[in-house]
């Protein structure tokens, strides 16, 4: 209450200035209605002024002063001229309101000047609708409450509108959230009925009349204040607008003191924790998809989504019910279809999207909107319907090379009234869309080329070092041995063929065929030693093959022997056939040779294996 009382002293200052204020006497406010809505933490005041020009000159601007303690909590101020009469007012567009500093006025007031679209001529009149929204103007009193207490706030205002003009007739209506009131300043003509408190009407008040009223009442609503909100709007021309919002939320109501009992809260939630912040509802555009809600330690599972053709409602609960003074931080994100928000005009593209936070009952102290344009955008400008601080930065994201231009818009004290559309214009060529895919393709292509080059190139550092030469030699030896083994294998195959021909002979008795087979085998076998010779001489000359050469030589001799025996067997059998001797006879004759052949074959196989393993 102390602070409130100190404000009372202002009244005297204003009374003092009344004596000197003469410059505005031309204008007279004939009727002034004020309505103050205290039902939410954001205080909304609607003032309708009927102004008459009684002076000689026409007037082009109207001055509206506000006391300092209100002015610094201004969130939003707009003025409209409503033409026509009675109930059928058709309000025109809002007209510009700017801060003004008239000469010789006390510093305890902030002045706003409303420039009229057309001058108010002598004797003329107009009706001005002023809408002012304040934040942080409700003061929790007491500042700390327990879980069971009701949250009380105090609100201070003047019963008389602070006006530089003479006011003929004025009234004030204050709307409370509940029909309960702790206390209020009683002046003449004060009436409290239902949940409305009325002051007035007051007639013929001089300029700068001021009469403080204080309302102390219960409000069981959470004071959700985002100390920081960063909205990042990222445009992808592949068809998506991605919005990410980082909130730093605090319950700015009366702070909780003492115990927090979950038991009490769960048993009687509307008594023990009436003003706790349980949930928030974000109204997202229709066709919002990929919605997420998380904080720095992961997903928060307490959220719900409903959607219809006009909107998507996202209901989120913080991890814990928020009592006064408690804080939390979270992020929500969602994607929107590009075609709903991106349009083209005059060779430029423009994004048309809402500025503020999608939650209707959150006050934002510092709002930063970042619009991330696609890489390669040029000539970008932003147009916002109210003053914001603009700057630019560069953001590097998925495979960017030059980075994406970012338009940063900053606004303090943003309220739902700021949730208006704003536009970002830029130029962008569709070809730039292909840069990243083509970069990837090129990158992979280079990678494969590098692989091909690697497999075909020889990366040995020194071509003359002994180890390298030895390796080369060893490779040669290995190829030679491989060739040698192949020849041997062919040789063995020929042997097998001979054997097969013998079997055929025993089956069919076709001696001629058998002889032919023998002939071809002979000619082939004769060629083989010719092929073997250079290989063998190479092996003998090569120092690397010292260990293998004896085995190879042994193999050759063994094979020769085998070959001879085989030929012997073959000719014996064929001879026997020609003589038409019996099968048993042939077997007995060949038996000895056959035994040797099997033995030799075994040895040859073993040798082949040994060489192979080297």
């Amino acid at each position: 209450m102390k602070r409130i009382r100190s404000d009372l002293s202002l009244v005297f200052i204003f009374a003092f200035f009344v004596l000197f204020s003469t410059g505005f006497s031309d204008l007279v406010v004939s009727k002034l209605d004020r309505q103050i809505d205290l039902s939410s933490p954001v205080v909304r005041t609607t003032i309708s002024l009927k102004i008459e020009n009684n002076g000689a000159n026409s007037v082009s601007e109207i001055l509206l002063p506000f006391p300092e303690h209100q002015a610094k909590n201004f969130a939003f101020l707009s003025a409209k001229i409503s033409e026509g009469k009675g109930k059928t007012k058709d309000s025109s567009d809002s007209i510009p309101v700017a801060i003004a500093t008239p000469e010789g006025m006390p510093p305890a007031m902030t002045w706003y000047s409303v420039s009229l679209p057309k001058e108010l001529v002598k004797g003329g009149s107009l009706t001005l609708e002023v809408k002012a929204v304040f934040t942080n103007i409700l003061r929790p009193f007491p500042e700390k409450v327990t879980q069971a207490d009701v949250q009380l706030v105090a609100f201070q205002e003047s019963a008389h509108f602070l006006s530089p003009y003479r006011v003929k007739f004025q009234s004030l209506a204050i709307k409370l959230p509940e029909p309960k009131i702790e206390s209020y300043t009683k002046l003449e003509n004060t009436k409290f009925s239902g949940s409305e408190l009325k002051y007035g009407p007051y007639e013929n008040l001089p300029p700068f009349s001021y009469s403080t009223v204080v309302v102390h009442y219960a409000i069981n609503k959470p004071f959700a204040v985002a100390q920081e909100l960063v909205r990042e709007i990222e445009i992808s021309h592949w068809g998506n607008v991605q919005i990410t919002e980082h909130y730093n939320l605090v319950h700015a109501g009366a702070e909780l003191t003492g115990e927090f009992s979950r038991l009490d809260y769960q048993a009687r939630p509307h008594v023990r924790g009436a003003s706790a912040l349980r949930n928030l509802v974000a109204k997202l555009p229709a066709r919002a998809h990929s919605i997420y809600y998380r904080d720095e330690i992961g997903n928060i599972s307490t959220s719900n989504v409903w959607s219809d053709s006009a909107k998507t409602l996202l209901e989120i609960e913080p991890r814990y019910p928020m009592f006064g003074g408690w804080k939390t931080a979270f992020t929500i994100g969602y994607g929107l279809p590009l075609r709903d928000f991106l349009f083209q005009s005059e060779g430029k593209r423009f994004l048309n999207i809402t500025f503020g936070c999608p939650m209707s009952d959150v006050v934002i102290e510092n709002l930063t909107v970042k619009v991330v344009l696609p890489e390669g955008s040029k000539e970008f400008t932003a147009s916002v319907p109210f003053p914001v601080k603009q700057s630019q930065e560069i953001k590097f994201s998925h495979l960017d090379i030059i980075g994406r231009p970012v338009i940063v818009l900053e606004k303090t004290n943003a309220v739902p009234e700021h949730n208006q559309h704003f536009q970002v214009y830029y130029k962008f060529s569709n070809l730039s869309l292909l840069s990243e895919p083509s970069m990837l393709i090129f990158g992979f292509f280079l990678f494969f080329v590098a692989c091909v080059v690697y497999t075909h190139a020889d990366f040995t550092i020194s071509k003359t070092s002994p180890s390298y030469l030895a390796k080369l030699q060893w490779d040669e030896v290995q190829t030679t041995i491989q060739q040698f083994l192949n020849i041997m294998n062919r040789c063995l195959i020929l042997h097998d063929k001979l054997e097969a021909s013998l079997r055929d002979l025993s089956r069919t008795g076709d001696v001629q065929a058998c002889k032919a087979a023998r002939k071809s085998a002979d000619s082939l076998l004769k060629e083989l030693p010719k092929e073997l010779k250079p290989l063998l001489s190479f092996l003998q000359s090569s120092p690397q093959a010292v260990q293998i050469t004896p085995k190879v030589e042994e193999l050759i001799t063994k094979e020769r022997e085998l070959q001879e025996k085989l030929m012997l067997k073959h000719s014996t059998v064929v001879e026997a056939f020609e003589k038409k001797s019996g099968a048993r006879d042939i077997d007995s004759r060949v038996a000895a040779v056959q035994q040797k052949i099997t033995l030799l074959r075994q040895e040859v196989d073993d040798l082949l294996k040994v060489i192979d393993e080297i």
Binding site: E259, I297, R319, T455, D458, T479, D612
Partner: protein, 778 residues
């Protein structure tokens, strides 16, 4: 001759190229499988770090990325073990952290904006794919490509490994298993080739393993064992020397570079085996050398001479060594290693190690759960390794035998067994398929080509010749490229040796082999089904988020832990100290960013015992202990309302035990009624007055009127009580986490000021507290 061979040669080249491409594709798919089977946790829950230790690793990674490597080495963490702090840079295995940090840096350099959390979550699945590829390489060295591919596929989805490497399980083991396998591969590769290049790579891989996990001691003991085995069985060769000697020298030097290992690499007993074998291998190398230059007779003389002298010297050295080792109390072994050698050690002397569930011996079902059919295939694999026994296959056998033992001591080491089991099963399956498909093929060939020859007369196997001819003709190669020539040769050599082996093997009847193939495929299918089930249901829960299915099919989420941590992080002062049982230390520092008294790095037993003592003391004494530690909040986990079984009341006996181990006035029997742990009306007064009981059950009775604990299934013993020194500041939605604040001391009464002051200054040891009778604040 050359002209007609060309098309055949081309066909062979194409076939080999096709085979290579095919195995490359299979490997790629195995990698994808290994990665994607671990994503169940992300799909079913969310992309979040799991459990306890991963949170610490995550926090360290965040620090590394924020502050750089040099600050990381010098990081003294004052947010934990208050007021002692912890030197993180010197006590943490940096492998995992550095790996994830590097990954993050690479992604960021390419302008791919991934958060540190995302990189950490997916590190484990990525490295499981790498581990599967490394298994392929290792098994290929042991038993060829087929076995390699099978083993890789098995490893990609073995449940035991999945349990430690699902997405989000950001723990050392995730990287370490890959490091373990690649180290073994490089060792075998060196052993097979005798190349110094691979030996160097091997030392580097070993270095990476040392960086990653304390389990590196397994490598540095297993490899010397294998070397010793080779020497004893007369398999010494220069390749063995090249494989081992550089590893010991380079590996030890590199290991000593890791701060957490440092001089332990030469000081502790875990490493002595490697040095001993290092000496032995040199002696053996010398003996072989001398044997080469001396005549056999001279050699025998030399042997007798050297052996007699060497024995004397050896015994002297050994005696000194034993004396040195025996002079230290733990015989130079660390506690965890000792509990490996003597499974009863931990439960006898170190309750902190015994209190961790993953340090308990496994049960039989857990083998089936974690290995499934591999458990039955392993013996077959071991048999296959013995025919023929090579250096590489003897290593595989040794690996499986030792890891089976270790897994029997500690559940956690099941993880080391898993790759060995996969390798063995891969070999078994591949050999079986080899035999069966070959006999099917031959039978079919025989049936089509030589209908005259009796199929039953298969023992003679004449049709083999046809196969053989075909194969050996392939082997004529004349290639310009040196490299490809070499590769081809390897293949051809294998092919021809196989073709020759075929002759000697029996061919099974067609029907039998068909059925056997079918059954094997069925077995594999069972394995796959089990693995997918294990990955999806058993091992993907992140444990910080719990879910239950309600009767109507809805999903209910219990997110109480994060609720509490989020509350702590946003609504308390940055420097507030939070006391809780050590399980929640890592999570509190990582998620709530608040200073804790003890955490999961249980390096200071006394400090943990202090917290245990406080939890088991009456309220007043506990307040004094906590106050002396500057504690502002106490966090307890309570599952009684919703039936969450691993809460603090169930862990309470460990707190009593650990506390009592250091502060003897806490006696376990005081908390037990006739040896039974109970919290109902029969519980002892000490139990009912302990801080843990009071903080857990504060106002619990008011929830349902009688205080029915859904975990213990009883009504609680003491129902209505008030807290005098603590106040409830936060309780989560399902009451799983309860936070209490220490009340500030009341104003002192003038007359008692002096007396209490002198005592207050010495309030450090809890023994003193126990001895005090009066509370100065009243």
């Amino acid at each position: 001759m050359a002209a007609p061979e060309n098309p055949q040669q081309q066909a062979a080249t194409i076939r080999h190229a096709f085979g290579n491409v095919l195995s490359f594709l299979i490997l790629l798919l195995i990698g994808v499988l290994a990665f994607s089977i671990r994503l169940f946790s992300v799909i079913k829950y969310e992309s979040v770090i799991h459990e306890f230790d991963p949170y610490f690793n995550y926090r360290v990674t965040q620090f590394l990325i924020k502050s750089g490597v040099y600050d990381f080495w010098n990081w003294f963490d004052d947010r934990t073990w208050y007021p002692l702090g912890r030197v993180i840079g010197g006590t943490v295995y940096p492998g995992l952290t550095l790996t994830a940090g590097t990954l993050w840096r690479i992604f960021n350099a390419l302008n791919i904006p991934l958060t540190v959390e995302t990189v950490c979550v997916f590190t484990a699945p990525i490295f499981s794919a790498f581990a599967a590829w490394a298994t392929y390489l290792l098994t290929k060295e042991v038993k060829g490509v087929g076995a390699g591919l099978t083993a890789a596929a098995l490893l990609a989805m073995v449940p035991s490994y999945i349990s430690r490497s699902v997405a989000g399980s950001y723990d050392n083991e995730a990287v370490a298993i890959f490091a373990l396998i690649i180290t073994f591969y490089l060792y075998i590769k060196t052993l097979n080739t005798g190349s110094l290049f691979y030996a160097t790579l091997n030392a580097i891989a070993y270095f990476y393993m040392v960086c990653s996990w304390g389990g590196y001691t397994f490598i540095i003991n297993l490899i010397p064992m294998h070397v010793l085995l080779c020497i004893v069985t007369g398999r010494y060769s220069s390749r063995l020397y090249i494989a081992y000697a550089p590893l010991v020298v380079l590996g030890t030097l590199l290991a000593a570079l890791v701060p957490v290992v440092g001089f332990n690499a030469v000081m502790t007993s875990e490493h002595f085996a490697s040095f001993l074998v290092f000496i032995i291998i040199h002696v053996v190398a010398l003996v072989y050398y001398i044997k080469g230059i001396l005549t056999p007779k001279m050699f025998r003389v030399a042997v007798t001479l050297v052996v007699s002298v060497g024995l004397i010297v050896g015994f002297a050295v050994l005696a000194v060594l034993i004396a040195l080792v025996a002079s230290s109390p733990t015989k130079g072994w660390s506690g965890r290693s000792l509990s490996l050698l003597d499974p009863t050690y931990a439960s006898k002397y170190i309750p902190i190690i015994a209190s961790v569930s993953e340090h308990q011996p496994p049960t039989w079902p857990s083998y089936f759960m974690d290995l499934n059919v591999l458990a039955f295939l392993v013996p077959a694999g071991i048999i296959a390794c013995f025919m023929p026994l090579s250096d590489a296959s003897s290593f595989a056998v040794l690996y499986i035998v030792t890891s089976v033992y270790f897994s029997g001591v500690m559940v956690r080491l099941m993880l080391v067994l898993a790759p060995a089991a996969c390798i063995m099963s891969g070999i078994a399956l591949s050999e079986a398929f080899d035999v069966l498909t070959r006999s099917i093929k031959l039978q079919l060939l025989a049936a089509t080509e030589n209908p005259q020859i009796n199929a039953g007369d298969a023992t003679k196997v004449t049709p083999n010749d046809a196969v053989k001819t075909e194969k050996s003709e392939d082997s004529v190669k004349e290639r310009s490229s040196r490299k490809s020539k070499k590769k081809e040769k390897e293949n051809v050599e294998k092919a021809s040796s196989v073709s020759r082996k075929e002759k000697r093997l029996l061919v099974l009847p067609l029907e039998a082999s068909m059925i056997a193939v079918f059954l094997l495929v069925l077995l594999g299918a069972f394995y796959v089904v089990h693995c997918v089930w294990a990955a999806a249901e058993a091992y993907s829960a992140p444990s910080i988020v719990l879910t239950t299915r309600s009767n109507d099919g809805g999903l209910h989420v219990f997110d109480d832990f994060r609720e509490a941590y989020a509350w702590l992080s946003h609504n308390t002062e940055v420097d507030d100290k939070v006391a809780s049982w050590w399980d929640y230390g890592y999570q509190t520092t990582a998620m709530a960013n608040r200073t804790v008294i003890v955490d999961n790095n249980t390096w200071n037993n006394t400090h943990i015992a202090t917290v245990g003592t406080a939890m088991s003391s009456p309220e007043k004494a506990a307040w004094e202990i906590f106050n002396s530690l500057d504690v502002k909040y106490v966090l307890v986990v309570f599952g009684g309302l919703v039936g969450y079984p691993s809460d603090d009341i169930n862990k309470f006996l460990w707190m009593v035990r650990i506390g009592g181990g250091v502060f003897p006035h806490i006696k376990e029997p005081d908390y037990l009624r006739d040896g039974q742990y109970r919290i109902d009306a029969q519980a002892t007064p000490t139990m009912l007055n302990s801080l843990m009981y009071k903080l857990s059950y504060y106002r619990f009775v008011e929830t349902d009127g009688r205080g029915f604990d859904r975990v213990r299934h009883t009504e609680i013993g003491k129902k209505h009580f008030k807290l005098t020194h603590f106040e409830e500041v936060f309780t989560t939605h399902h009451w799983m986490v309860r936070l209490y604040k220490l009340k500030s001391p009341k104003n002192r009464i003038r007359g008692k000021t002096k007396k209490s002051k002198s005592k207050a200054t010495t309030t450090t040891s809890s023994k003193r507290i126990g001895a005090r009778k009066k509370n100065p604040w009243h």
